[in-house]
């Protein structure tokens, strides 16, 4: 049956209808920023970082890392145009450096995001406990509140109930407004009446030797975690060539300004030489108190709790999607890649929930300080894992485009990823050597090598498993890193739309 002949080209009804449904830059940016959870970092990570590391160069680190991540992103988004996969690091590394390396990367990513998710309960618990004690006169230990939040996240995850976009949008805007307001007030009332730029200067990055920079970089990368999620939506984006890059760079810019500003305000308000001690005393109050004790600071404290909860749910969703994607590709047991009623991947969701429960229970039983030892330690270790992935991905990008330039220019396919690989690789080395400073423990303490070594262990497991798959299950091995559309043998849909 011949096609209906047309004399003039008619715009495709299908293409127009599908385009309406696709996501523009604002939607992708919103998705990224919601995952970044600004107040969790501004009130949680930054004060704890000041206190635990004793370093004051945090504002400068945010700015420098923004530049390095922007360089990294040049090659990263170029690769997104060729490969669409929700587990971007894993897919890019598989296609660039081989599937065996890809399996190792997948397990590293899973561990990193799991650390990040579980760590959040360490901040929610004690802060909810203190708010409840102050306002509701309920006195319960931090782990009771942490378990409560865990239970709600576990149930919502199993039921596939997500916080609606509108509620998330309101919360996100409120968080950003609060941080900006506190920052402005803090900068307007500097210690001694004179605002110091010391914490923004490059000298602050190496105040205690080169190792300082490695430690500060891990803290900063932790703040930026979430920016790498934009490619998850690549297939749904209006214009794969522009939407994902635009959202990624905008997110980096916004995060840099907000975090550098907030951390600078905290140091400026307390005084550069006093901020570490002040952080130790006030914790998240270091941010909340910048504008004095009033409605703003109280609203900030409540928003901090909602931010932590929303971030815990968001990372739960991120982890189970990763588990599901890996189960689909047989990198993890296939049962984890199946859905039950209502398209819910129950197994994947449960695995993530059980991990979180085990971590909270472990910390509760050993009586460790949750804010420092659970939130900050696991959070920064998660950030360290992301740093590892960024470094290896940079190398993978070079390898991928070396085989076929795909029409990308020299900057995107070689110079930018090479620069990123060298800088990020250097940071990884420095951070590994000075991990004790990051954790605020004496050099040689067990945690200082156990935590980073955990990545070595999963990487070795991943390499071994990848080899096993290559030899014993070649069909499954061949599909690694290719995503859902591998079964159809077609090019990534986003790649098609850039033609």
């Amino acid at each position: 049956m011949p096609r209906t002949p047309t004399t003039a080209p008619k715009p495709s009804t299908v293409s127009r209808a599908l385009a309406r449904d696709r996501l523009g830059v604002p939607s992708v940016l919103f998705f990224v920023m919601a995952g970044v959870a600004p107040l969790t970092v501004a009130a949680g990570v930054i004060p704890t970082a000041y206190q635990t590391t004793g370093l004051t160069g945090i504002p400068a680190a945010f700015l420098v890392i923004a530049v390095i991540l922007a360089i990294f992103s040049s090659g990263y988004v170029a690769m997104t145009r060729r490969i669409t996969h929700s587990g971007a690091f894993y897919a890019f590394i598989s296609r660039g450096l081989g599937r065996v390396t890809g399996v190792a990367a997948a397990l590293i990513a899973l561990l990193a995001y799991s650390f990040l998710q579980a760590g959040l309960y360490g901040a929610f618990g004690p802060n909810a406990a203190s708010e409840a004690a102050a306002h509701l006169h309920i006195h319960a230990p931090w782990w009771a509140w942490a378990l409560g939040a865990w239970a709600v996240v576990a149930v919502l995850g199993l039921l596939r109930v997500d916080i609606t976009g509108r509620v998330l949008g309101v919360l996100l805007c409120a968080e950003l407004l609060v941080i900006v307001a506190e920052t402005v007030l803090g900068l307007a009332h500097p210690a001694g009446g004179h605002l110091s730029f010391a914490t923004l200067s490059p000298a602050a990055l190496t105040s205690a030797g080169f190792g300082t920079f490695g430690v500060l970089a891990v803290v900063a990368v932790l703040g930026y975690v979430g920016f790498e999620q934009a490619p998850v939506l690549a297939e749904e984006a209006k214009n794969a060539k522009r939407t994902v890059p635009a959202a990624t760079y905008l997110a980096l810019g916004m995060i840099a300004v907000v975090y550098a500003g907030a951390s600078w305000a905290m140091a400026g308000h307390a005084g550069t030489s006093h901020v570490v001690a002040a952080a130790g005393q006030e914790g998240p109050g270091l941010l909340f108190g910048l504008g004095g004790s009033n409605i703003l600071s109280q609203a900030a404290q409540w928003l901090f709790l909602t931010s932590l909860f929303a971030a815990a749910l968001s990372f739960h969703n991120c982890v189970w999607r990763y588990i599901f994607a890996l189960g689909r590709e047989n990198v993890l047991p296939a049962a984890l890649g199946r859905t039950g009623g209502n398209n819910i991947p129950k197994a994947a969701s449960l695995v993530q929930s059980v991990t979180g429960l085990a971590v909270i229970t472990g910390y509760a039983l050993t009586g460790q300080n949750p804010m420092e030892r659970l939130f900050f330690w696991l959070g920064t270790t998660g950030g360290y894992g992301i740093l590892l992935l960024l470094t290896v991905t940079s190398v993978a990008i070079i390898a991928f485009f070396a085989r076929d330039p795909h029409g990308e220019n020299m900057w995107r396919r070689l110079i930018a990823p090479a620069l990123a690989a060298i800088l990020l690789g250097g940071i990884v080395v420095l951070a590994t050597l000075h991990y004790a400073t990051l954790l605020g423990v004496p050099a040689g303490a067990p945690a200082a090598w156990v935590l980073p070594a955990s990545y070595g262990a999963v990487a070795a497991t991943g390499l071994a498993w990848g080899l096993v798959l290559k030899i014993r299950r070649p069909q499954a091995y061949a599909a690694i890193g290719l995503g859902p559309h591998a079964v159809t043998g077609q090019a990534a849909p986003a790649a098609e739309r850039t033609r």
């Binding site: 049956m1 011949p2 299908v14 929700s86 998850v232 398209n343 859902p484 559309h485 079964v487």
Partner: protein, 215 residues
């Protein structure tokens, strides 16, 4: 009025019934997954007689007889009206937007669905199966097809494959004998490559939607 257990004889109608509870009419799938599965069913209805086929992932017109039924004819008309062959994925996403509503309307017209009793709070009507036995019958047909082979089994096997692809594997495992899922995978290999590809494309697009937070 009793309807025959054999149903309307249409693939997408059977898939709609499998995807909803046979008594309450409650869907077993997320809305987007339901739409994508039913879209696969609509394409399958045109592929079975060869009216359209899949070629390198693109939907192309074939030499088969055009359908007599109004909705299928409308889908075929839309396919023929595009100036170039589009990927199956695009058609699945496009048809998914309206498929649940269209299927409910078609089944209601044929007497297999009735409006749910009670006050309507939302504008979209809720449907319940007119006869639970008729609503359950498609699953029985899938089970029967696992034991037979040949041309008569094509449609029920395709139904089983598409049901599993859009996330009804759990449902199938509840009502089919143990190990049926495995048999279904193997039986699907008996289908023409084009129909196998339709199942694969449907699964790919549903999984992608889940991973991209659209499901």
């Amino acid at each position: 009025m009793t309807r025959p257990l054999s149903g309307t004889g249409r693939l997408a109608d059977d898939l709609y019934l499998v995807a909803h509870h046979e008594i309450t009419g409650k869907p077993h799938l997320q809305p987007r997954a339901l739409g994508l599965g039913l879209a696969g069913g609509l394409l399958g209805e045109l592929m079975l007689p060869g009216t359209i086929r899949l070629s390198s992932g693109l939907v192309v017109l074939g030499n088969g007889t055009p359908p007599g039924e109004e909705l299928s004819r409308s889908v075929l008309h839309q396919i023929a009206g595009e100036r170039e062959d589009l990927p199956a994925r695009d058609w699945l996403l496009f048809l998914a937007r309206t498929a649940p509503r269209d299927m409910a309307g078609r089944l209601a017209q044929a007497g297999y669905l009735t409006p749910a009793p009670g006050r309507r709070l939302s504008r979209s009507p809720r449907w319940v199966p007119a006869d639970p036995d008729c609503a359950f019958a498609p699953l029985v047909r899938v089970k029967a097809a696992l034991n037979t082979r040949g041309p008569a089994a094509r449609q029920p096997l395709l139904l089983g494959g598409l049901a599993a692809a859009c996330g009804l594997g759990h449902q199938l495992s509840l009502y089919l004998p143990p190990g049926a899922g495995h048999h279904l995978d193997q039986a699907a290999w008996d289908l023409d490559p084009g129909l196998q590809e339709l199942i694969a494309q449907t699964k790919a697009v549903v999984d992608s939607a889940l991973l991209a937070h659209r499901l």
